[in-house]
C-alpha cells in the first residue's frame, strides 16, 4: 500500500472461491462500503454486493471485514485497516449467493419460527393502549427494539455455526421484546416456539452478538430473559 492507496482483498465466488486483490485510492472519512463501491464502479463491474441506504438504517450492507462481521456503511476504513490491508468477505453462517452477497432466507425464516411477530389484541375501535415508558416490562422491550436485521449478530454467533436449528440472537431478541409487550396476544405460542430444540436454551452466552451489534443492543441479555421466562413456564407446566 502506498500512502494514497489501500490494498483490498475481496472474496469472489460462492462457498468455493478466492480473494481478488485491488488497489483503491484512500480518501478522508472513507467507509468500507465506499471501498467496495469504488471497486465495483471502477475496477470490476462484476462484483456482487448488497446495500441500500448507506446511513445505517436498512441493515443490508453487513459483511465480514478483517475477520469480524460489521455494517460496512458505518465502518470507517481507518478503524479496521490498521495493518494497511482490508480483507472483505461475505457474512458467515449464511449461504453465499455470490461474492459478498449472502442469502438471508434462513435468517428471516427463523424469525417466523420464533413467532417473532406482533399479535394484536385490540381492534381499530379500541382506544390507544396506555403504556408508561417507565414500566419495567416496557423498559426491557425498549432496550432491544432498535434491531435493523443486519445479520451481524447471526454471523458472529458460534452457536448458530454449531447448531443449524438454533434460532439465533436476532430472532430471539425480537421474541424477548414481544414477550415484554403488554399489548401482544401471542405469548403462549411464542414461549413454546422458543423453548424447544434450537431455542433460547441453546445459547452459550459467548456474548459475541453483544460485542459486535452495530446498534449496541444486547441479544445475550434478551436471551437470558427468555431462559428465565421458559424456566418459569416449565415450572408452571405451561410448556
Amino acid at each position: 500500500m502506498s500512502n494514497n492507496t489501500l490494498t483490498v482483498e475481496i472474496w469472489r465466488g460462492r462457498e468455493e472461491g478466492k480473494f481478488d486483490t485491488f488497489e483503491v485510492p484512500r480518501m478522508a472519512s472513507q467507509t468500507v462500503l465506499d471501498i467496495v463501491t469504488y471497486v465495483q464502479r471502477n475496477l470490476d463491474p462484476g462484483l456482487s454486493y448488497r446495500f441500500a441506504c448507506w446511513v445505517g438504517v436498512c441493515g443490508s450492507c453487513a459483511m465480514t471485514v478483517n475477520g469480524k462481521p460489521r455494517w460496512t456503511c458505518r465502518t470507517h476504513v481507518d478503524k479496521v485497516a490498521d495493518e494497511g490491508v482490508l480483507r472483505i468477505q461475505p457474512l458467515k453462517n449464511l449461504p453465499v449467493i455470490r461474492d459478498l452477497a449472502v442469502d438471508m432466507t434462513e435468517f428471516f425464516e427463523k424469525w417466523t419460527k420464533a413467532k417473532a411477530h406482533f399479535v394484536p389484541t385490540a381492534t381499530r375501535h379500541d382506544d390507544f393502549a396506555q403504556v408508561s415508558p417507565s414500566d419495567p416490562k416496557r423498559k426491557e422491550a425498549t432496550a432491544g427494539i432498535e434491531c435493523i436485521n443486519c445479520g451481524v449478530c447471526y454471523s458472529a454467533c458460534d452457536t448458530v455455526a454449531w447448531l443449524g436449528d438454533y434460532l439465533g440472537p436476532a430472532a430471539l431478541n425480537r421474541a424477548w421484546t414481544l414477550h415484554n409487550d403488554v399489548r401482544d396476544g401471542g405469548q403462549s405460542d411464542r414461549i413454546k416456539a422458543i423453548a424447544g430444540t434450537g431455542g433460547c436454551q441453546a445459547c452459550h452466552s459467548h456474548q459475541s452478538c453483544f460485542e459486535l451489534c452495530p446498534k449496541h443492543l444486547n441479544p445475550t441479555a434478551s436471551i437470558a430473559g427468555l431462559k428465565r421466562a421458559t424456566a418459569k413456564a416449565a415450572l408452571k407446566g405451561e410448556i
Binding site: 475477520g67 458460534d158 459467548h206 456474548q207
Partner: protein, 112 residues
C-alpha cells in the same frame, strides 16, 4: 487477533470448557488412587509420599486453579441464566479469574 471471538466473555467460555475437559481427564486417575486405599494401602502410602515433591505441589496448584475456574465459571453461567441481567459481565469474568488465581495461590502458599 482478528476474530469475532477475541473478547473477555468468549475467553471465559473457552476456559470453562477446557477446564471441564481437563478435570474429566483427571477424575479417573483420582478415583483410581482413592480405590488404592481399599486394597493396596502400601501403594497408596508410596503415592502420597510422592505427592510431597515440589513439582507435584506445583501441578496440584494448577489443578486447584482449574477446579476454581470451573466452579466460578459455572456460577457465572448460573447467574446469567437465573438472575436479573447485569451489565458488568466483563467485571464478573475478571472476578472469577481473580478468585481462581487466589485459590491457587492460597493452596500453593500452604503446600509446604
Amino acid at each position: 487477533m482478528k476474530t469475532h471471538r477475541n473478547h473477555a466473555n468468549y475467553w471465559a467460555f473457552v476456559l470453562h470448557r477446557v477446564s471441564g475437559l481437563a478435570l474429566l481427564l483427571f477424575l479417573p486417575a483420582h478415583f483410581y488412587v482413592l480405590a488404592l486405599a481399599v486394597e493396596q494401602a502400601a501403594t497408596l502410602d508410596m503415592f502420597l509420599s510422592w505427592t510431597e515433591a515440589p513439582l507435584v505441589k506445583l501441578l496440584e496448584t494448577g489443578l486447584v486453579i482449574l477446579l476454581a475456574a470451573h466452579m466460578t465459571g459455572g456460577l457465572r453461567i448460573l447467574a446469567i441464566e437465573f438472575l436479573a441481567w447485569r451489565n458488568w459481565q466483563k467485571s464478573v469474568v475478571a472476578i472469577t479469574g481473580g478468585l481462581s488465581l487466589a485459590a491457587g495461590l492460597l493452596f500453593f502458599l500452604n503446600a509446604g
